[in-house]
């Protein structure tokens, strides 16, 4: 009970602090904080907005898990960005070329995406173990190679319509047949409330993300591989003496991280059915922030993914109602991250003090009992 209280105290404190600082910021920028919060909350209480939030949180979460797998063994995979975009492109292209029965088609596309993401991340792993290249450096370089090199080049080659009549609808890779598109899961929400309107669809990738989260938890805490991974992150020398092969672990963790990263683009793929000329970018970097805020914990990251998604979606509302400028949402994301780091630090100290005091009291009680 006490434990639970303590683990909740930090995020709650961080949240309260964020609200205070954001209020000051809003007020300083000449907006009415109450009005802005009111708009955010009333907007978010709509079912359709909630769908938007979940659709946004899904790629955030996948990206966070991808980053967290690396973090748990002190590996900084900054390359989730490049991995998911490249995987997205290849999977979309292949998906557009083949035609298969529904389940199979979807599976093939997803597996291709994961394999491409894994292999692309694996390059950094191999470079680190064979050449000693720091993964931060290599993944940043691989990001630019993927985004401004491979993607730009392949995208042009694979345009759906090579004619002169470029229009926004004909750009991008070959459209994938419906059999290759993951269906929406609107039913999941609709059983609780009403039908989702405005043509919004809850992404089927939400379920995949949940599975990935469970898989991440089981892998880290219940499997020998997860034990090895965490041990390598905490003390690589002790891990090695304990039989954990350090190089193989680096490559395995990068492959795994990249594999999960490959799934990120599948959210947009299920939505638009091809690799569009303007894919959503920046999800890889957002994932790092979400993982930090969620402390690499499967449930913690889910909360922070939803929080970040809520702030993202709110930024649009604030803009349209004119209650505040849309940048305030980004600022709030930054503030919540900072306050969380501080709050976690403070709370772990307070908890230690509290336990020490409880011990002293228990011992004192014992002494008086003995004396009596």
């Amino acid at each position: 009970m006490r434990r639970l209280l303590f683990s909740l105290a930090a995020p709650v404190a961080a949240f309260a602090l964020t609200v205070v600082i954001s209020t000051i910021a809003l007020w300083a920028f000449g907006s009415n904080p109450l009005e802005a919060y009111g708009d955010m909350v009333s907007h978010a209480s709509k079912l359709e907005t909630q769908v938007d939030i979940l659709n946004r949180a899904t790629p955030f979460y996948l990206s966070a898990v991808a980053a967290a797998i690396g973090f748990r063994m002190n590996l900084f995979n900054i390359g989730v960005e490049g991995q998911y975009l490249f995987a997205f492109l290849i999977a979309a292209q292949i998906g557009g070329l083949i035609s298969l029965p529904q389940v199979l088609h979807i599976l093939v596309i997803m597996i291709v995406a994961m394999v491409v993401g894994a292999l692309y991340a694996g390059i950094a792993g191999v470079l680190k173990t064979t050449r000693g290249v720091n993964e931060v450096v290599s993944t940043i370089m691989l990001n630019s190679i993927a985004v401004s090199g491979l993607m730009a080049w392949l995208q042009r080659r694979w345009q759906a319509d090579q004619g002169d009549n470029f229009t926004s609808t004909t750009l991008g890779t070959n459209p994938i047949d419906d059999s290759g598109l993951l269906p929406n899961v609107n039913g999941l929400l609709e059983v609780f409330t009403r039908d989702i309107g405005l043509g919004k669809e809850l992404t089927g990738m939400l379920l995949v993300a949940v599975l990935v989260g469970i898989g991440y938890h089981v892998l880290l805490n219940r499997t020998r591989f997860g034990f090895d991974l965490r041990a390598s992150g905490i003390n690589p020398f002790a891990a090695r003496a304990g039989g954990v092969p350090p190089k193989r672990m680096v490559v395995a963790a990068m492959l795994l991280s990249g594999g999960v990263a490959g799934l990120i683009g599948m959210v947009q793929l299920a939505d638009v059915g091809k690799f569009p000329p303007d894919p959503i970018q920046g999800l890889g970097f957002a994932g790092i922030a979400v993982a930090l805020l969620g402390r690499n914990h499967p449930a913690g990251m889910a909360f922070s993914a939803v929080l970040f998604a809520f702030l993202d979606v709110s930024s649009g509302v604030l803009d349209s109602t004119g209650a505040a400028s849309r940048e305030i949402a980004t600022i709030m994301q930054g503030i919540v991250l900072l306050t969380a780091v501080v709050a976690y630090g403070v709370m772990s100290r307070v908890r230690e003090r509290d336990e020490a005091r409880a011990t002293a009291e228990a011992l004192l009680a014992e002494d008086t009992l003995v004396a009596a």
């Binding site: 020998r224 034990f227 041990a231």
Partner: protein, 511 residues
């Protein structure tokens, strides 16, 4: 004589334990003051409080008569207090010189680092006290004994007049201990006050002017070192007699467990660290390796455990050639390992005890299998280790860093011995363990030996080496230079071989 340090009513609590319970301590200026007590008695904690690393919950501190309260070690350093920790705190990737000036960087005009003058100063400090180190070596590559010298120089360089040394002799062989004591006497003569922690009572009796004994967080007595005997001290500390490591009757069989044949390990610059070494250990045998740190013992151990590549020669275990096996394959085949530095290779400091117990055995029962971790099995086994090896801890969910040094060591020895190894590589197995618990560990090792365990024992404690081993070999500059019978050798002779002063002509057959 004036009082250098006065602690009154110091209390410090941690989750589940009271580490210091209203401790009073008075240290006279210019004396060498020993702090003794069993593992977990609160010695390190008291010293960390005095050094500003931890804040006491209650109590007051006076240094040279003025009341102080330290927010951090920086304050303590300003007050002239320096500390060398039980577990060294050097940045592995930096050179000795960089480590030494870290936090006290001398600057030239314009804020640039003045390496030249720092180096000159350090050379002088080092030479004054006969502390010999290579300033340009990367710390990662130093042996434990060398690291300690770096730590001591660092403290002196910052102008400390009150020195705290936490178990400084635990990592040293007798010759080095003598050298350290010589340094300590010189420091004392030049007016320094020294506080040190030590589990070896003969050492305490040799060097200390005053001895304080802690027990369960309470100060039980402070006495002048006059006419005190080791057994009286032991009595005060643990309430029992002083044990000696006497080997019971031999259990050596003629079944070879480990066979090392002409093994050579080269350094990066192709110098031989282990030079054409051959040895055999039989089931039921304890082979002791004597040697000053840095003569290739660590590399030999690494080669056997599989973390160091063998450049030439072969190693076989129970008849299987294992030279190219991975560490995991070797460990699964029954090789237990107690590393020389528990923090470096032994523990996951931020993980709970039960995960630490599983480390190295996570793929075998009861801790787990090829694919999964068995939490219940691991926890039960950890409870067993805790009980059998007297690991003092509130529970097995605390992080390993919350254990006292000696209790961490007991956990490691316990996890290796309880996993029924057929070969145990034990480097300084009782390092930092108090006299009472040491006897218990020796008993456990002896018992495993009589059940057929083959042990490679490395120890800086020559009494332990002579008392436990069935055979002793001496390693010097990467070679085995002598093979001795423990019943016929004294620590003094052994010392001669270890420093190369005495030699024995060995034929291949003799080894």
């Amino acid at each position: 004589m004036s009082t250098a340090i006065e602690l009154v009513g110091i209390t410090k609590r941690f989750p589940g334990v009271v580490a210091n319970d209203a401790v009073d301590l008075r240290v006279t200026a210019g004396e060498i003051h020993a702090i003794c007590g069993e593992n977990g008695a609160g010695k390190s904690t008291l010293m960390k409080i005095l050094y500003g690393m931890q804040a006491p919950d209650e109590g007051t501190m006076r240094v040279n008569g003025t009341e102080v309260s330290f927010a951090s070690p920086t304050d303590a350093i300003d007050a002239g207090i320096g500390m060398v920790h039980q577990h060294f705190m050097l940045a592995d990737q930096l050179t000795v010189l960089e480590n030494l000036i870290l936090g006290a960087e001398p600057t030239k005009a314009g804020g640039r680092l003045d390496f030249a003058s720092a180096e000159a100063d350090l050379q002088r400090v080092a030479a004054d006290y006969g502390l010999d180190v290579d300033l340009h070596e990367v710390v990662e590559r130093l042996e434990v004994g060398e690291r300690q010298r770096v730590e001591i120089i660092k403290v002196l360089y910052r102008g400390a007049e009150i020195l705290i040394l936490d178990e400084p002799t635990a990592v040293l062989v007798p010759q080095e201990v003598e050298a350290l004591f010589e340094n300590m006497r010189e420091l004392k003569a030049s007016g320094a006050t020294i506080l040190f922690i030590d589990h070896k009572l003969d050492e305490v009796l040799e060097i200390a002017d005053t001895i304080s004994v802690l027990r369960h967080g309470k100060m039980v007595s402070t006495l002048a070192n006059e006419g005190v005997t080791a057994s009286e001290l032991a009595e005060l500390m643990v309430g029992s007699e002083l044990p000696t490591p006497d080997t019971a009757e031999s259990t050596v069989t003629n079944v070879v467990a480990l066979e090392v044949t002409n093994v050579t390990v080269l350094s990066e610059d192709r110098r031989p660290l282990v030079d054409n070494v051959s040895l055999q250990i039989h089931q039921g045998e304890i082979l002791g390796i004597a040697g000053v740190e840095g003569n290739g013992q660590s590399e030999l151990v690494d080669a056997i455990i599989g973390t160091e590549r063998v450049n030439d020669g072969s190693i076989s275990l129970h008849g299987d050639e294992i030279t190219s096996w991975s560490v995991r394959e070797r460990r699964t085949a029954g090789v237990g390992y107690v590393p020389e530095d528990r923090h470096h290779e032994g523990l996951l400091l931020t993980s709970p005890l039960w995960e630490n117990a599983a480390l190295g055995h996570q793929n075998t029962a009861p801790y787990g299998s090829k694919w999964f971790i068995n939490r219940d099995g691991a926890r039960q086994q950890t409870e067993l280790i805790r009980e059998q090896f007297d690991v003092r801890t509130p529970n097995i969910d605390v992080a390993a860093h919350a254990l006292s040094g000696g209790n961490q060591q007991k956990l490691i020895v316990g996890r290796e011995l309880t996993s029924n190894p057929s070969l145990l590589i034990a480097a300084h197995p009782t390092r930092g363990i108090d006299v009472g618990a040491q006897a218990a560990v020796w008993d456990q090792i002896r018992q495993a030996r009589s059940n057929g365990l083959a042990t490679l024992l490395i120890s800086a404690d020559l009494d332990e080496l002579i008392g436990l081993s069935d055979t002793i070999v001496v390693m010097f500059r990467g070679k085995l230079v002598a093979r001795l019978s423990p019943s016929a050798v004294t620590p003094r002779d052994l010392g001669g071989y270890m420093t190369g002063a005495q030699t024995q002509t060995l034929t291949e057959a003799a080894l």
